[in-house]
Symmetry: C2
Subunit: 343 residues, 2 copies
Amino acid sequence: MLTPISYRDGAVELIDQTRLPHDVVTLTIADYRELADAIRTMKIRGAPAIGIAVAYGVVLGIQEVEDEAELDGRFEEIVETLRRTRPTAVNLFWALERMTGVFYAHRKADLPILKKELLEEAKGIHDEDIEANQRIGRYGAELLPDGATVLTHCNAGALATGGYGTALGVVRAAWEAGKLAKVVVDETRPRLQGARLTAWELKQDGIPFELITDSAAGSFMAKGEVDAVTVGADRIAANGDTANKVGTYSLAVLAHHHGIPFYIAAPVSTIDGSIADGARIPIEQRDHEEVTQIQGAQIAPTGIHVRNPAFDVTPADLITAIITEKGVLRPPYIEAIHDVLHC
Amino acid sequence: MLTPISYRDGAVELIDQTRLPHDVVTLTIADYRELADAIRTMKIRGAPAIGIAVAYGVVLGIQEVEDEAELDGRFEEIVETLRRTRPTAVNLFWALERMTGVFYAHRKADLPILKKELLEEAKGIHDEDIEANQRIGRYGAELLPDGATVLTHCNAGALATGGYGTALGVVRAAWEAGKLAKVVVDETRPRLQGARLTAWELKQDGIPFELITDSAAGSFMAKGEVDAVTVGADRIAANGDTANKVGTYSLAVLAHHHGIPFYIAAPVSTIDGSIADGARIPIEQRDHEEVTQIQGAQIAPTGIHVRNPAFDVTPADLITAIITEKGVLRPPYIEAIHDVLHC
């Protein structure tokens, strides 16, 4: 199974997603600071994959520690460095919390044992994510009609997760079940994760798809060419409001206008029960050059004003269902989310 | 005044819009076939500018004719070559009809007189368009609130017209009247006319603007940062349905969802009274490489399926008003359009 990240012999191996689809380059990273930089620069991206990456990042960081007297200080420094990489995807903070729990549970044990426990936890987070995606896929595929054309945005595939994918997990499961006609792939400006990553994954798997520009999605919906929209999530608030790649909100409004079901596919680790609604989700503002340059080539005049929010928030009332590994959540989400988090 | 095209000494001069914003290159074209090619490859684009270009194209074509016996055959060949360049913008067919009318009215005159009449007509089409834009600008500016932020898509500016612009004519007039806070400019994939052309025009004029990706527009509307959407048109059907650059329809749905006025700014020459509704407007499908390559660099896997409609159709019921040089048309458009065409 394609996974964007794995751990071997004291180092993390990850596919450099900024080089796809042209070059499949595996980076070997043994320094957690370098891993933090890889997250910041989106060599690895996607909310679940970021969670897995920071878990392995803690492992790499603690590996360096030889002196138990330094342990607490170094741990805090490692966690802080990883925490500051990206602000929106909550899986990052969730994974750091899990690693922090294990750290303090085994804080008094011998260093080799602590290191082993942290590695076990990180691998557990990774394995659980893959299993969660396969469940999400099965639940999601059941929601689709036979011969479905599914529109997706950004990349919520194997590359964005531990493997298999969330939104693309649904696509893969539907394809395996013989229910999928094709996928319509938004290119997803500015970073082109649809054109570069989703198209690459689907091509590898032989799943039929059509690539379109983001702003063409509405006209395909109007022509009746889209049966469902399925996307991932970076953070889901307690009321179901969902932050995801910028452009998701527009798709949700368009799907609503056309009476097309709009699904969020995400593991429960993407739900942030501590945040009441989407207005409180921090939205990362990224570099202007992501908009004004493509592969290093300037496409706009220089010295202009640019706004580049990486995410937007889709209000719960535009979401038909949230597909998790614990089942399909339906409105009212405030109750469904409470139940899935606490029951 | 910035104009994308002009006629001098037997040749057309045009700014090569595929080279903007990096290089301002003026092409001198004396052969109508070369001009047809410049239209096809979008060296000149924008519905009104295409109309002006084909009018001058007829002038260039007839200039070559020395033998009156060849006149009818050559004229048909010229018109047919120009007609086949692009299918959606109706101004092209409208301008060819005007030139055809003049041709047959002066068909029996001496060749130099016929040539002169055709040149007069082409220049008339050009001058009328500039004047129409200035009127459109004044009418449109009156519709905007003080301190307005206007979102626009593609380029309906001086470069898309004889000069001044339609949607950007409204922006310019509002700026001159002190009513405009700023413009939000959609980059407009795949050809990036917003990032390349609208940004360049506004920068030249010192009008404040922010460049965004197309799919970010919805989130700015949701945050209350857009007071009006103003775009151009390639063809308006008799019922008000409007074909314009792909992505326009999505903006109209989003504007409707947010209660934001959505204006089409276009000269009466963009109205096609012979077409009952938008479903009958031919939509150009352009090369896949426009989506998979940017400035020659491949951004997606090779050998994949792509859909690349250049335009989409916005139904009349999503359009708040159509701003023409003969006044602001309001629903029901079928009556307003009938009146403006026939009264």
